[in-house]
């Protein structure tokens, strides 16, 4: 439930209205997780239903509803931060399946598949690195980009590994 908990985390810094929450959420995650405003309000009303946030009695001067985190909301947020994430429901990686199938299917030039992918992944890595150099939204955004860089790097290393293992097998 990252959106739900993300909003709680932002609200723990003080009362905010929906649009402000959306802006701060996207700035922190480096726009890797775009939120639409509808999603923010739906989530806020569920949080309100569960007693984790409370709307102020009066709207601000521009007619926007300002939300405050409740004690129960704080508890829920602390529970979230103190629980490690389990990678159980990770979606299957198409590349892994593709390479396995390329090896299984006798007619496919696996090393060509690897070369193409490696060049494409390196381009992604170059783009992420440029984005990181240009990042101005603060440390949260940079760390999100770092996470994507580490993932692309892991894929690149795995491709190198596949290449050398397949070379031995031949």
């Amino acid at each position: 439930m990252p959106v739900r908990h993300g909003l709680l985390a932002l609200l723990s810094g003080g009362p905010r209205h929906g649009y402000q929450l959306r802006l701060e959420f996207e700035a922190s995650t480096g726009a890797t997780w775009p939120l639409n405003i509808g999603q923010v309000y739906t989530t806020l009303s569920r949080l309100e239903r569960d007693g984790l946030v409370a709307p102020a009695a009066e709207s601000d001067e521009q007619g926007r509803v300002v939300y405050t985190i409740t004690a129960a909301g704080r508890e829920e947020m602390e529970r979230w931060f103190s629980t490690p994430v389990v990678q159980s429901d990770r979606p299957r990686d198409e590349l892994v399946v593709k390479l396995a199938m390329a090896v299984a299917a006798k007619e496919v030039d696996v090393s060509e598949v690897i070369h193409l992918q490696r060049t494409a992944t390196m381009r992604t890595l170059q783009q992420l690195t440029r984005a990181k150099r240009a990042a101005t939204e603060g440390v949260a955004q940079r760390l999100v980009l770092d996470s994507m860089i580490f993932q692309a790097e892991a894929e690149q290393r795995w491709l190198d590994h596949c290449e050398s293992v397949l070379k031995e097998e031949r």
């Binding site: 070369h115 490696r118 390196m122 381009r123 170059q126 690195t129 860089i149 790097e153 290393r157």
Partner: protein, 230 residues
């Protein structure tokens, strides 16, 4: 402007049945302001390529030009190397009995530059990469990242147009490694040509172009068109 040009370069170690073909007809140009990364497994020819590009080794066939000079016909290669090329290696080779600034001054003094001016130049480049405050420390008084910065300063001092870096991020943690790449990148953006050998994809990704070496030949490369799209 092409700073270093390798044309159909091959390097064979030994001869006969035991000959090792370290590099087989590799062609590669690096332009001023361009950062090119060379990746490949051990034994793929990365270091051979770098040594040939810097005039530390001679090709069995093919030609190497640095700043328009054909290395095969250059009389004083050592002097050309000192004037035009800076080297950064994994083993830093800083001289332990000299301070940081003295290490950086050394190549300029070998060039016959007077001590006072060499010191000014060394201090300028140490300031450029933000380690001026470490100038009077000895290598053993510096952290790994700081030592690598000083080694890079030594490679940059004077108006050298080509920087060759062999695994410059060696044993550094990723944050410090990123800082080293930041320094190399900035130097590149200021007009130098940089050829970087690394086996780590995350550092290669700082380059404008990444070349993959396999068994002494270029297996594939991210194209140059991306550079202009920058």
């Amino acid at each position: 402007m092409t700073v270093v040009r390798l044309a159909e370069v091959s390097r064979v170690h030994g001869e006969g049945a035991t000959a090792v073909h370290a590099l087989k007809g590799v062609s590669l140009d690096v332009e001023a302001g361009e950062l090119v990364a060379v990746m490949g497994p051990s034994g793929s020819g990365k270091s051979t390529l770098l040594n040939l590009a810097g005039g530390l080794d001679r090709p069995t066939s093919g030609t190497v030009h640095i700043g328009g000079h054909d290395l095969a016909t250059t009389r004083d290669l050592a002097s050309l190397r000192r004037r035009e090329v800076g080297y950064v290696f994994q083993d830093l080779n800083l001289i332990p009995s000299l301070t940081a600034v003295e290490n950086v001054m050394l190549p300029r003094e070998l060039d016959g530059v007077r001590s006072r001016r060499a010191r000014e130049e060394a201090m300028a480049v140490l300031a450029e990469i933000e380690v001026a405050d470490l100038a009077d420390r000895f290598p053993e008084e510096l952290s790994g990242g700081q030592r690598q910065r000083v080694a890079i300063a030594r490679a940059l001092v004077g108006a050298r147009c080509l920087l060759l870096a062999d695994e410059p991020t060696g044993a550094l943690d990723t944050r410090t490694g990123d800082e080293i790449l930041q320094v190399l990148r900035a130097r590149c953006d200021a007009g130098a040509a940089v050829l970087l050998v690394t086996h780590e994809p995350r550092y290669a990704a700082w380059a404008d172009r990444v070349v993959f070496l396999r068994d002494g030949t270029i297996a594939d490369a991210t194209d140059r068109s991306l550079v202009s799209a920058r």
